[in-house]
Subunit: 119 residues, 2 copies
Amino acid sequence: MADQLSRVFAALADPTRRDMVARLTGADHTVGELAEPYDVSLQAVSKHLKVLEDAGLVSRTRDAQRRPVHLEAEVLDLMTAWIERYRRRAEERFARLDSVLAAMQDDAEGPTQQEGTAS
Amino acid sequence: MADQLSRVFAALADPTRRDMVARLTGADHTVGELAEPYDVSLQAVSKHLKVLEDAGLVSRTRDAQRRPVHLEAEVLDLMTAWIERYRRRAEERFARLDSVLAAMQDDAEGPTQQEGTAS
DNA sequence: GCGATTGTCAACCATCTGGTTGAACAAGGT
DNA sequence: ACCTTGTTCAACCAGATGGTTGACAATCGC
């Protein structure tokens, strides 16, 4: 799982990590603050943060003993770019398909009405 | 990893699966067709498809021995919804932060210019 | 019916993941 | 100097993941 896009998707595949990201949109938080709502050890939270950091989703600075965690929201654009690109393609294809189906519908209805027009 | 959102993110965390999704935006494909570009066994591809199917990203029907794979692009909206929601929140926060910083900048510059105005 | 084609199921394996606990490190308060 | 607070590192464990191979199911063409 080398590339960043994979790491970002994988990072957000975990509900706890998604919740952390959600909370970080409001304000920066220390590891302890982030850990508080979850029923897991601080070390587990620290690991989650490492995953988010490796994905480029958060950064950590230093403030005395504390390590405030900061959301790097631009990385989310990576994902939206990918998703939207292919969603759009799929939509276009379905639109084409719909028009083909509409045309077939016309073919099925048309001939009975204009039977003598061809050749 | 129970919920669908997690499954969708996890499904797209794999480059091979992302590539499959990308190719499926163009047209439906059989398992064999999908497997062709990758240097892995057909069984491995079949497993990948199961992951995508469990995430609701593709569906498979039956056509003789073949099992055409069809992209269900609407599921992508689930992700965009999540991402955009929090990206927007983060943006708003940064906007507020910027205006706070601008205000602080004003405070730092203002007083030197209007030193005698207070009390 | 028989063989070829297309795909899945089952068992196995190595590696990754998310959790644990216990020890260690870093910096501030006293 | 020492203790407390905040966080990470290391070792370990159970379960998931992505790959393999071998057997089997389903369906067409003959």
